[in-house]
């Protein structure tokens, strides 16, 4: 490469121009300073449709460096369209190393799951967020919800949980379950299953949330309290599964239901593919793995 193209390549590292990254980094810093607060930012058009994670991609593009190792998951899986496309995008525009192993990654961009393997200090988890406002479907006016956040008027959030119990006998919200961050802001943890909410609490990793269409960034710094809202007589609890993963036999993990045929056949497998593969490599087997358990 000659000097000319070299310069251009550096200027365009990770797709966004440096002024845009600077603007996004300032928003991220503000978001980290006020955990759970939604910071507005000037979201850019990205070369992918809204809903594909344009917010998460902008956040990742702003924090990624040449020596970072990137992992991208979609519903826990490394091999689905969204994850593959975004991983290929960053390989192309930033030429960074990519991985599917949670422990090896420094930045993990995720759509709707937190890896089963506990994250460590120094890792950054970037969420793709479709609707950042937890009060949106209860109070449609943005002016009003901002005021409610400012004045810490969160009674309405419990109205939603009340409705759940009144209609279903228990809190039936299973994803985007509202949390209170560091005792102050109520936050939508993006549509992650509530199974993952406890992993956000006192996490060692930095958690960044980017909503591209809604133009908001928010964050949970490491070692921050993240409490799921509940009632005294209906405490928060996570989903449980009746059977272990059909491939690796894992029990305390989040499972996906996979339909096998049109006669009611189905299997439950780990949503976190990396975790499932690691367990199988260690010799764990489920009843449909087609191999004998290692002895």
């Amino acid at each position: 490469m000659n000097a000319h193209t070299d310069n251009i390549a550096q200027y365009n590292f990770a797709y966004l121009d440096e002024q845009t990254k600077r603007m996004i980094r300032r928003a991220i810093l503000k978001a980290i300073a006020i955990p759970g607060y939604q910071v507005p930012f000037a979201s850019r058009e990205m070369p992918m449709p809204y809903g594909w994670g344009t917010g998460g991609v902008q956040v990742t593009a702003s924090v990624i460096g040449t020596d970072d190792v990137l992992k991208v998951i979609d519903q826990g899986a490394d091999d689905t369209t969204n994850a593959v496309s975004i991983r290929a995008f960053f390989q192309k525009v930033a030429n960074v190393e990519v991985t599917t192993h949670t422990a090896d990654a420094t930045i993990i961009q995720t759509r709707h799951r937190i890896p089963e393997e506990p994250l460590n200090a120094g890792q950054v988890l970037v969420y793709q967020v479709p609707i950042p406002e937890p009060l949106r479907f209860l109070e449609p006016r943005e002016t009003e919800t901002r005021k409610m956040h400012a004045l810490e008027e969160y009674g309405l959030m419990h109205v939603k949980l009340y409705e759940d119990i009144a209609q279903h006998g228990h809190i039936a919200t299973t994803f985007a379950y509202p949390v209170k961050v560091e005792g102050r802001y109520v936050m939508d943890p993006s549509p992650t299953p509530k199974f993952d909410n406890p992993k956000m609490h006192m996490s060692k990793a930095l958690q960044l949330f980017g909503a591209g269409r809604e133009k908001r960034i928010y964050a949970v710094p490491p070692y921050t309290r993240v409490e799921s809202l509940d009632f005294e007589d209906h405490p928060f609890e996570v989903q449980t599964f009746d059977e272990p993963c059909a491939l690796c036999g894992g029990t305390d993990v989040y499972l996906d239901e996979v339909v096998l045929d049109d006669r009611g056949g189905r299997m439950f497998v780990c949503s976190d593919t990396d975790n499932c593969e690691a367990r199988r490599a260690e010799g764990h087997r489920g009843h449909l793995s087609g191999e004998e358990a290692a002895t």
Binding site: L156, H158, V159, Y162, E163, A166, E232, D233
Partner: protein, 258 residues
């Protein structure tokens, strides 16, 4: 009864540009007293009510409210957070159209419970018990607790709105045409219920209405407004039986007799 008023209104004016909303209105509201504001439409009744209930910033004048600690506070010098807290604990606001005051997409029980949750109640069983109790007090049967207000009739919605407002035990309730849009027999029932509740709870209330019969039934004292000015005020029975101002005489004589 204490010898101090609950609400002290001094020279409240609201101008919309050159147009007068209401002009130079002063009065005191005493604990346990129901004050009716009557007048034809466009006379500034609702503007006045909104100015008093902090929903509309008056052009000039002061409104001070005696808090539970006995001290008077100027409503427009409080922080917005304090005003909003007052609005959902110590005050109630009953809208003419129940869908303005209710959350139409959540159940009746949640509508009543919202204020409780807003002030920090976090026990589902207690909230539900209180909601059931209040639905009973406004004559809504307890098996409708999980229905949305959309499934309720106009009269039921209005009663639900009243329950939603009274659940935190407010001391002052603002009502904007509480019986407007209801048919006569439902009106009568609602008035009867309101009168009972006001008496039982010792509420103070300011009721805006164009219906003199509502004023007669509910209120102790009334203010008659015309073109943004107060033309007459006094005890309800006195004003209705012996109107002094020409406009009040006209108003009283224009009630239809059957």
């Amino acid at each position: 009864m204490t010898d101090e008023p609950l609400l002290r209104v001094r020279s409240i004016s609201k101008f919309y540009g050159n147009r007068i909303g209401c002009n130079d209105i002063s009065f005191d509201l005493w604990p346990g007293e129901v004050l009716a504001v009557v007048g034809e439409s466009g006379s500034g009744k609702t503007t006045l009510l909104n100015c008093l209930s902090t929903r509309l910033l008056p052009t000039s004048g002061t409104v001070s409210y005696r808090m539970r600690d006995g001290a008077f506070h100027d409503l427009y010098r409080m922080s917005e957070a304090e005003r909003r807290f007052l609005m959902r604990t110590d005050w109630g606001f009953v809208h003419q159209n129940p869908s303005d005051g209710l959350r139409m997409t959540v159940s009746a029980g949640a509508n009543v419970g919202e204020r409780l949750m807003a002030v920090g109640q976090r026990h589902y069983g207690d909230i539900r018990a209180t909601a059931t109790d209040w639905l009973g007090r406004v004559e809504i049967s307890s098996d409708r607790i999980d229905d949305q207000p959309r499934a309720f009739s106009g009269g039921m919605r209005q009663r639900l709105q009243i329950a939603r407002n009274l659940v935190t035990g407010p001391r002052l309730v603002f009502m904007d045409e509480p019986t407007g849009g209801l048919d006569v027999s439902v009106q009568a029932r609602l008035l009867d219920l309101l009168r009972g509740l006001v008496h039982e709870l010792g509420l103070s209330a300011i009721v805006v209405t164009h219906d003199l019969a509502v004023a007669r039934l509910l209120s102790h004292r009334m203010i008659v407004m015309k073109d943004g000015h107060v033309v007459e005020s006094g005890l309800t029975d006195r004003v209705l039986d012996d109107p002094q101002a020409p406009y009040t005489q006209l108003l009283v004589s224009s009630i239809l007799q059957v």
